[in-house]
């Protein structure tokens, strides 16, 4: 090992530490008693068999974790159901407004959700859907639709045109071509889109904050409520953080190859 490589390695360890230490410190807190959390000098290594924080958290808040799971999974499914046919059509159909339509869909992805907040609130209020999971599912599926369409397009584009043409020549209608040929070939791409939409919906706070009040609250809303003006429940926050960040962490480790192209909507590949 040359000297320069050794220094690079040291630098890499330092960088990694900077990006992981804050996460780890919160993870450690989840296994500490309230006294240990407040102890100065800090308790460095907690007793990992101490699980009371998790028990306390989940005994009262498991319904909201369930809400988050249901909302996120349903929103992902609903989003893909609308996005995939649209992406397929935008890639394979020939029509005049195609590029315009694709650009318009992409631009709606960039719009700030706060500018849709009050109208959405009023519509769901009028429909008697405030504080229900369907309202959140509809909103999340919609706000992730542009992303899903755009990224799915880049995966459909990777299917060799000849295969689609062959299917058409064999007499497949567009529905059959889509279902029997295109979907199976774009399977791994679709999985990527689905996981991204899942994570985006899982992490969302703003919409959930004003569309829910009691029954349909998602886990992020509950976590944010542990920090009040008068008191911050660190033992609950740390335990909840572990549960909340588990899906994104697993996702990052398993899908790191797709993260760059996903977050740049296919513009950068690695």
């Amino acid at each position: 090992m040359t000297k320069s490589v050794r220094w690079q390695l040291v630098a890499a360890v330092v960088i990694t530490f900077v990006f992981v230490a804050p996460i780890l410190w919160m993870v450690l807190a989840a296994f500490k008693t309230i006294n240990d959390i407040y102890a100065i000098p800090p308790v460095w290594v907690p007793d990992f068999t101490y699980l009371d924080n998790f028990k306390l958290l989940l005994s009262e808040n498991w319904p909201f974790l369930l809400n988050s799971t249901i909302v996120t999974l349903s929103a992902t499914a609903l989003c893909l159901a609308f996005a995939l046919p649209c992406a397929f059509g935008l890639v394979y159909f020939q029509f005049g407004a195609k590029n315009f339509l694709a650009d318009w869909i992409l631009s709606t992805r960039m719009m700030p959700p706060i500018a849709a907040a009050v109208p959405l609130y009023m519509v769901f209020n009028g429909a008697g859907m405030l504080d229900t999971m369907p309202a959140l599912i509809i909103a999340y599926a919609g706000f992730n639709l542009p992303f899903a369409v755009w990224v799915a397009m880049s995966f459909f584009r990777n299917i060799p045109k000849e295969i689609i043409e062959a299917a058409r020549i064999e007499g497949c209608g567009w529905f059959q071509t889509f279902r029997i040929v295109a979907l199976p070939l774009a399977k791994s791409g679709i999985a990527t889109v689905a996981t991204f939409v899942f994570i985006f919906a899982w992490n969302e706070l703003l919409l959930a904050l004003f569309l829910t009040t009691r029954e349909a609250k998602t886990f992020p809303v509950v976590i944010s409520s542990f920090s009040t003006v008068t008191k911050t429940y660190w033992e609950l926050i740390s335990a909840a953080t572990i549960i909340q960040i588990l899906p994104p962490v697993i996702f990052t480790i398993l899908m790191q190859r797709h993260i760059v192209s996903g977050l740049t909507m296919g513009a950068v590949k690695n």
Binding site: V5, G89, F93, S107, A115, L145, P220, S224, Q244, T264
Partner: protein
């Protein structure tokens, strides 16, 4: 259809009447387009309409047309102007930090990319960017807490008395900026890595033969290779920072005073705390207008790069 006919084969699909073909195509594309029209375009337009009224969320049946009064009030509202200024400061400085540190990190991981240890470290170092933003905010509230936080404890070990990071008006915004940069530097790093790996080794060797200094290499070899990815990264980060909400919601709530008030947070509070939806919508429309300008540039650019 034309391409299929070109292959010279007699095509069954050709016999299908044009009308039903169009209906099928519509069936693929229209649902998503209608969904988007109803869920984002309609609300945006309705926000513009609301911004011209004096309206309260609790009494939406009574509202008064006030024309551009809400906008006039906004532009002389010190809190809104401060929110605008903070958003610009936050966006610009966190992006500068992300680009600089992202580049340094990318250089380190670039030289270790063939090594298993380097790859493992890299995949751990990118964890922050997909983590739930409110959890990131709370993590740092815990670390930077003046009484129980580990940061000020460590600082006291070297004789420095750490401030109240979120409670002190001088430190609050820089602290939020650093947290934001912490979360998104790995994203910039990955982007730049994607650009840097495309540089052939022969270029570096040639530069070495010419006795080029590191800044020559950075300026004439590396920068051209990563210019496009940096621009994409900056555009996406500008758009995301305009929407930034979660981080301040769980850390400072805009305070102390107005020192971390941001545009989205301002609009949220007008709408759902004070129920001034006319006023809040006007603020949202201004955010929307800024986004449209940035987006127009972004879409044109992303399309160009994807080609």
């Amino acid at each position: 259809m034309a391409e299929i006919t070109n292959t010279g084969t007699k095509v069954f699909a050709r016999a299908r009447p044009e009308e039903s073909d169009r209906a099928i195509k519509l069936f693929f594309i229209a649902p998503a387009v209608i969904y988007l029209l109803l869920l984002s375009v309609f609300p945006f337009i309705y926000s513009v309409y609301l911004s011209l009224y004096d309206a309260k969320l609790t009494r939406m049946d009574r509202k008064w047309f006030v024309g551009f009064e809400n906008y006039e009030r906004l532009l002389s509202d010190p809190l809104f102007l401060k929110a605008m200024q903070n958003t610009v400061v936050l966006t610009v400085s966190s992006i500068i930090l992300e680009v600089i540190f992202g580049f340094l990190c990318a250089k380190v991981f670039l030289s270790l990319r063939e090594m298993r240890t380097g790859q493992v470290l890299r995949s751990i170092a990118i964890l922050p960017m997909m983590i739930t933003p409110i959890c990131v905010g709370l993590m740092f509230s815990y670390i930077l807490n003046p009484t129980l936080g580990i940061m000020n404890y460590l600082l006291s070990g070297v004789g420095i008395e750490g401030p109240s990071w979120f409670g002190n008006p001088t430190f609050a915004l820089p602290t939020v900026i650093f947290i934001n940069a912490w979360q998104w530097t790995p994203f910039m790093m990955l982007l730049m890595l994607a650009g840097l790996v495309s540089i052939p080794d022969s270029l570096y060797e040639a530069a070495e033969l010419e006795n080029a200094k590191w800044y020559h290499i950075a300026r004439y070899i590396e920068l051209p290779a990563i210019r496009d990815v940096i621009l994409i990264g900056i555009i996406l980060r500008v758009i995301d920072n305009l929407k930034l909400f979660d981080l301040v919601y769980v850390t400072t709530r805009g305070g102390p005073g107005d020192s971390t008030e941001l545009l989205t947070f301002f609009a949220y509070r007008q709408d759902f705390r004070f129920f001034q939806v006319g006023y809040g919508s006007a603020a949202a429309v201004i955010i929307l207008l800024i986004s449209i300008v940035v987006t127009t540039v972004a879409v044109a650019y992303l399309r160009k790069v994807q080609k």
